[in-house]
Symmetry: C2
Subunit: 243 residues, 2 copies
Amino acid sequence: LFPYTTLFRSKMKKPIYLTIANDIEKKIFNNDYPKNERLPSERNLSEEYGVTRMTIRNSIEYLVSKGLLEKRLGSGNYVKRTSLNLNLNEQLSFSEKSQFSDKSSRTEVIEFEKIYNSKISKIFNLDKDKEFFKIKRLRYLDEEVVNIEITYLLCEMFPDISIEIMEKSKYDYVENFITIKESFNKIIPIIPDMDTQKIFHIDSNTPIFYKTSLGLTTKNIIFEYSELYFNPKIYEFSFISKR
Amino acid sequence: LFPYTTLFRSKMKKPIYLTIANDIEKKIFNNDYPKNERLPSERNLSEEYGVTRMTIRNSIEYLVSKGLLEKRLGSGNYVKRTSLNLNLNEQLSFSEKSQFSDKSSRTEVIEFEKIYNSKISKIFNLDKDKEFFKIKRLRYLDEEVVNIEITYLLCEMFPDISIEIMEKSKYDYVENFITIKESFNKIIPIIPDMDTQKIFHIDSNTPIFYKTSLGLTTKNIIFEYSELYFNPKIYEFSFISKR
DNA sequence: AAGTGGTCTAGACCACCAA
DNA sequence: TGGTGGTCTAGACCACTTC
């Protein structure tokens, strides 16, 4: 029997507010709700979807936290014009994000291998003999590398992963098997190594952001560890603090 | 007449959930609610405060976003053990934050001057002839400088500011005059200049975080612009993304 | 003045956690 | 199994923005 069966797709039904949020998201993508314009009012949406205003407010809060909407008191909820600036409040993966950009995007897998590594095993809280996929990807936007990602996934958890899959959306694939609960991220500034300098066309005097990320399922199982290097010419970290 | 009268203390009453949140905050500080332990349940709190559970949930969500509480599904809401790691989800000022630390903290003002500066005027969207306070402060924790802050405030907005005030809490003072709505922050990695290197006891090979922050009142008036340099030996940026 | 989001009430059922 | 947080209903009044 597959050892991770218990953690696949928790029995928790998808809440209505998330279903609605995803629907609104789709409409934003399709330009049914154009950028910079007002959404229907919360009262209208609640009528349209046949739910209470509280539920709609939940959907909207979710989309605000995702960085897709913006609230204006007394005026309405607005579709945010998306920028390429990476916002720490947002939890959009690269492929999701680039749907909202007009520029062409793609992902290139430049390394794909099975490894044993005691350091990685330790991070996953597993025995040393476990095998991992190590996948190094370059994310392009308009023919420029915007970030470099190294992902570690446990082989037995995602046995049929492939280069083709990883050149599409990692999370689309991963979410067929598990439900993501949260990820723990840490960001530090580093001096890029030679490889990274070459890829980003920068020198050693240009510090860059380096992010590590530990992904957890709803059952609190670690399903991925990843490292990200950001192109300083493209990304900046901006965020809004309320109150 | 004072020119900013209209924006002082908007008529909006402080909502109940915020009053309750501040009360809970106080209890956490006084160790009435010890770190790492469970808060009373939402139902008990709603009874205690004589409000509905929805209102309590609002208070708790606010404290979670401030980084003071942590939710555990099916178990309860817990007081987070605070660390010195700067969390991007948190909006705690230094003096607030250091209350939760056992170490001794203080703020030293090392520059305090009135300036005219066209660049700063531009940032505030004001005429060039406006005068600003430029205040450079060092924040100490256990006799170590944890960050360097340069704050710009419009003189006519905060006429009676002083070194003494700035060695206490900036926001405590500022909030006597205005109500803070939000701040726009941007963080980039930089190579520290000589001054900063000396203060932090680091060399030019150690990149650091540099944050700029633009503070807005509830009337969307810019009330401060500040620059922050973080000591890399103490701070790291970590955050949790949900779903 | 009309419409909007912000807050709040008083309930309810569910899945999850610990005992 | 009992208590917890997560979600949801069906209302209500408020301050704020827009006209």
